[in-house]
């Protein structure tokens, strides 16, 4: 059962601050973390804890100022083709159809049209949006838009996929459906996933491991290993509820 786990991403002493209204505000404080190959890692923290900032630093959207990031042992700076992202606020380009959005990364990489279409189509099918290739984002529901975001990120074939609170804006039931979808897709196309959320139930449902962050500025409070909970998980299973309560008690309350 104990497979040799390889570290694919390593964060060392990451810190990040902002200047807000002439004050320096720390968002991330000395975060160090190892991410294993092909694991589903959930980063859990209360709202406004700085988790998005941390993800932006890893993905290269925010400049890495303090600390180091190692990808497969090599230091990286800025954005990297191996790290993809599904954004919190969709960020789908409204002037592009679903197909054009999904093939965006491939277009940037210079693949020719035929190849692009093939790969993009495969991923549109993967997220079960076949038939919607020519639709525009404004014609889709919230859940469907998120699936386009996931397809777009996957199509670029990254080794690590960051998902930054992708289901935050969805209602509870659509959220449950999307959580099952994300696991299904992860099983079919195994990648390392770093999934960010503030929802404890979602975290316990999805994760191999949970990294619990404190309130702003974000520090690693605790790392939970959930390998004892088999898959698929049942949200009403007593063990599930016990872990959920334990994590909940350890979480800072963002009142």
């Amino acid at each position: 059962m104990d497979k040799k786990k390889q570290v694919i991403l390593s964060l060392r002493n990451i810190s990040h601050s902002f200047i807000v209204k002439n004050e320096v505000k720390a968002a991330v404080s000395d975060v160090s973390l190892d991410v294993y190959d092909n694991e589903f890692l959930v980063v859990l923290g209360p709202g406004h804890s700085g988790k998005t900032v941390l993800m932006n630093v890893i993905a290269g959207i925010e400049k890495l100022v303090e600390g180091k990031i190692y990808l497969r042992g090599e230091e990286i700076h800025g954005s990297n083709r191996s790290i993809g992202m599904v954004f919190q606020s969709l960020n789908l380009m409204p002037w592009r159809t679903v197909m054009q959005n999904v093939e965006f990364g491939l277009e940037l990489a210079g693949l020719d049209k035929k190849q692009r279409r093939l790969i993009a189509q495969k991923h549109i099918d993967l997220v079960r949006l076949s038939g919607f290739e020519s639709a525009y984002p404004h014609e889709l529901s919230g859940g469907m838009k998120q699936r386009v975001g996931i397809a777009r990120a996957y199509a670029n074939n990254p080794e690590i996929l960051i998902m930054d609170e992708p289901f935050g804006a969805l209602d509870a039931q659509t959220r449950y459906a999307m959580e099952e979808e994300v696991l299904r897709i992860w099983k079919e196309e195994k990648r390392t996933v770093i999934f960010v959320t503030n929802n404890i139930e979602e975290a316990v449902y999805l994760a191999d491991r949970i990294v619990l962050l404190s309130n702003c500025p974000a520090r690693v409070k605790h790392i939970y290993d959930l390998s004892s909970l088999g898959r698929p998980r049942n949200m009403m299973d007593p063990e599930f509820l016990r872990i959920r309560t334990e994590i909940s008690q350890n979480t800072d309350l963002a009142l």
Partner: protein, 279 residues
């Protein structure tokens, strides 16, 4: 209280819904009322009209007669429609220049900081001068032929498109740029595949405003020395104390202006379907 069944289902409406229906009806009637009021005012104002002496304000009937006569006895060998076409041709050429040069220039100063810093003060100064103030200068330089007229129109409408394109390109939503960063887009790819498409609505706003600006300026240019065009018709009417002709010209100007506005809106909707508000 259930009302009697009529049709598929009994429709009973709440106070709020009834009020809303009444308001909708009112909104439809009000424009018609205002037009009727306007015509009424016109009739009132023109009651002292004496066509022989040319005093007083022309009646609607007199204007209509004059319009019809324009077709049978054209002024300077052109009918009303042909005069309108002459004016349209002038703005067409001007806008063609505006949209090619203006959009490229707007992109450059909107997207790149150094050109923006370099050109902005100059451009803002240029913008501040009202188009009509250019007329004396251009007339002195180039006379009163076709070219100077078109130049005046360009001077009067270029600023609109440049300003709008610049605004669009300098305020590209950070969201989309982040996507470009994560997907490793090169700077040129970012400009062409993200910044410009996301600014299409601003570019079209520029197209719309420059079109209406051009239409207004061409008339001014024509009134100061031309032998064709709708503006010319008005000045002709003024010279020959032909009030109905002046009014005909004005009405024609208004109608063409409205058509241009509608056309540009239609084109925008066709090219940018995503700007339609979705429900």
């Amino acid at each position: 209280m259930e009302k009697g069944m009529s049709g598929k289902h009994a429709i009973q409406l709440s106070q709020a819904e009834i009020r809303e229906q009444r308001l909708n009806l009112l909104y439809k009637i009000l424009p018609i009322l205002s037009v009727l009021l306007l015509i009424g005012l016109w009739l009132y104002a023109s009651r002292g009209y004496n066509p022989k002496v040319g005093s007083g304000f022309p009646t609607p009937a007199a204007v209509w007669d004059r319009t019809v006569r324009l077709f049978t006895a054209p002024v300077k060998k052109r009918s009303l429609i042909m005069h309108a076409l002459v004016s349209l041709r002038r703005i067409g050429i001007a806008l063609a220049f505006d949209w090619t040069f203006g959009i490229v220039f707007g992109i450059i100063i909107g997207w790149y900081a150094k050109p923006r810093a370099f050109f902005s003060p100059m451009f803002d100064a240029f913008r501040a001068v009202p188009p009509l103030a250019w007329i004396p200068l251009i007339t002195l330089w180039f006379g009163i032929g076709e070219f100077p007229k078109i130049l005046i129109v360009i001077f009067g409408s270029l600023a609109s498109i440049v300003v709008n394109v610049k605004a669009g390109l300098s305020t590209v939503d950070r969201m989309y740029l982040d996507v470009g960063t994560v997907f490793n887009a090169s700077p040129m790819q970012t400009l062409i595949k993200i910044a410009i498409p996301s600014s299409l609505d601003a570019i079209f706003a520029g197209v719309r405003t420059s079109t209406s600006a051009a239409w207004m300026v061409v008339l001014a240019a024509e009134m100061l020395g031309a032998d064709a065009g709708v503006g010319f018709l008005i000045s002709r009417g003024m010279d020959s104390i032909d009030m109905p002709l002046v009014l005909t010209g004005m009405i024609a100007i208004g109608i063409v202006g409205a058509i241009l506005a509608i056309l540009t809106q239609l084109v925008e909707r066709l090219i940018c379907p995503w700007t339609r508000k979705s429900k």
